[in-house]
Amino acid sequence: MNAPTYNFAYLDEQTKRMIRRAILKAIAIPGYQVPFASREMPMPYGWGTGGVQVTAAILGHDDVLKVISDDTTNAISIRKFFAKTAGVATTTSTADATVIQTRHRIPESTLHAGQVLVYQVPIPEPLRFLEPRETETRRMHALGEYGLMHVKLYEDIARFGHIATSYAYPVKVNARYVMDPSPTPKFDNPKMDNCAALQLFGAGREKRIYAIPPHTSVVSLDFEDHPFTRYRFDAPCALCGADESYLDEIVTDDKGGRMFVCSDTDYCETRQSQGHRGSESAAPHKERAHG
């Protein structure tokens, strides 16, 4: 039988070169979606194959990889994939990582120069739900014809009083291309602006790569009288007391009980180790008696 053998970081070198060329083009034209010959990866489409291919193409032997969200099953699976096929060091610490692959969050701590943030993107086309045809949307990008998007945002305001987009909130990159930031909550949008790290976006099933080079302007679309606002549940984190971080809602019982904790677990744990405490963590190493 044809027994399989695999290259460093899984992809063959020719494929990596093809992806790197697409990445370079994407960096040269910030926010522009570069078509690339996405490969079939050993994990399903829609489960991060675009991000995995970008990571595989840029990973070197000395890199330290972090995959967000660190403790969820799919992130663990991707981290193990690279630990196995590339033998690189992995970490959950944002500060220690050189390459961070993410699906739905940008870390709370500020990224620094030399780091690369790789986004897994399900639908790269910000205009897709307004215009399903690729031939049309590519023309609209070429002409910078984004009126349709503004009409959509306006209609939201007319109907709901607010722009009713809470994640994958469209941005304009380098004052030219409207871009989908991937399904990160709009809370994270401001972190993309003038970021010191390189941001790469990979959409495997849709076969597109795009990029935001370091220190590029990224502006969330809005109106003068309805400016962009971040959404954050108005409470401190129940574990570390942070009042600036994005929170996950944890349902604790079936009687309406719930608590809010940092979605970025590395950020939360770092704060706890520095002595910060929230309402639920007064005695961190002691079980609370039930009843």
């Binding site: 039988m1 490969r39 007319a158 959404y231």
Partner: protein
């Protein structure tokens, strides 16, 4: 107190261990071998080879075994392996006119040169469950006769001699064949890429689209000109030796649909073609493919594009079952971050709705 969820790594390992156990089933029952799958579930193997785009019966059988008989999962396994294989080049075009035919039928003529050959087919069987098969009955040996000495020209070639059907497009030897697994697809796509997409496409999706065209959504009056099944030689032009080297035979099913004619002020009317080709014995697949190939030629033949089956962006973007299943099933991955964001927005909108209902002033007009 609340502790953040941990232990995903061990959960994954244990889940896969359990999967392997379930795959094996009752250990008192004999394990199925790859040869048994390849020989006795051969149409399943053919489908996995076709939609997996890899002609290797043994690997396809392994994929079916590993996937517990889930065909799309098996196709996915084969595709992921195929993606890592180096490419040496493209073979010479295969000549289905020289096929070693095992089955060959035409619906357009009562008799044809070389004859109608039914071969191994479910057609005309009565679909009655056979209790004898459950007991492991040994079938009779097949009937034999002298191989016919006459040639078996393709029906479309016979029609083509009189100009009654449009000529098959001739491949330009200097133009490389398109390959959507190596180059990103862009629209409009040429017919070589459309056919490659359809050959890899999900059988059920093509079946439904082909069926929809028969029921009036992009109708084009098809006749099954010919369906043939058999072995063809594959040859590869080796640059070093300077001639085509035979690589061996593969089994193919080919379907040529003969469709409604076209004509214009300058061109005499003639029938048009729809083409289907697949690895192994894949009759339903090739017939559906031929129907959809023809409907997708609407633009080329100056027909109005109205039905889904005529719309190449719609068909080609949604035909791949590995892509489709991945994206549909990714919905089971955690989405709580985005959901939290939506929850927050919805609570805010509901609060404002409640405030308004209690007689507070209406919300600000958007244009104010």
């Amino acid at each position: 107190m609340y502790v953040a969820v941990k232990g995903g790594e061990r959960a994954i390992e244990n889940a896969h261990r359990l999967l392997a156990h379930e795959r094996r089933g009752d250990r008192d029952v004999a394990e199925v071998s790859l040869a048994q799958i390849s020989e006795q579930l051969s149409l399943g193997v053919d489908r996995v080879m076709t939609e997996g785009s890899l002609y290797d019966r043994e690997l396809a059988a392994l994929a079916i075994k590993q996937a517990r008989g889930d065909m799309i999962e098996a196709i996915f396994l084969v595709r992921a392996f195929r993606a890592t294989l180096p490419r040496f080049g493209a073979t010479e075009p295969v000549d289905t006119g020289k096929m070693e035919v095992r089955r060959r039928i035409s619906a357009t003529f009562k008799d044809i040169p070389g004859g109608q050959i039914l071969g191994p087919t479910f057609d005309y069987t009565h679909r009655l469950l056979d209790p004898q098969l459950a007991e492991g009955a040994v079938p009779e040996w097949p009937a034999t006769s002298e191989a016919p000495s006459t040639a078996m020209p393709r029906v479309t070639d016979i029609l083509g001699r009189d100009g009654l059907i449009e000529p098959a497009p001739r491949a330009d030897a200097d133009t490389p064949v398109g390959d959507l697994t190596r180059e990103p697809l862009s629209f409009p796509a040429d017919r070589d890429l459309r056919l490659q997409n359809l050959a890899r496409a999900d059988e059920g999706f093509l079946l439904a689209l082909g069926y929809s065209s028969q029921r009036g959504y992009g109708r084009n009056h098809p006749f099954a000109g010919e369906i043939r099944l058999g072995e063809v030689e594959v040859e590869f032009l080796a640059e070093d030796v300077g001639f085509a080297v035979p690589l061996g035979p593969i089994t193919l099913t080919e379907c040529q649909m003969v469709n409604q004619f076209k004509g214009s002020a300058t061109e005499a009317p003639c029938f048009t073609r729809g083409y289907g080709l697949a690895f192994g014995h894949s009759e339903r697949k090739t017939m559906s493919m031929a129907l959809v190939d023809r409907t997708l030629r609407a633009r080329e033949l100056g027909e109005e594009v109205l039905a889904p089956a005529q719309d190449e962006e719609f068909v080609m973007s949604h035909s791949d079952n590995v892509q489709a299943t991945g994206f549909v099933e990714h919905l089971k991955l955690p989405h709580y971050v985005d959901f939290q964001s939506e929850l927050g927005l919805l609570r805010k909108l509901r609060k404002e709705f409640g405030d308004n209902a209690q007689g507070s002033p209406p919300m600000q007009e958007a244009a104010e």
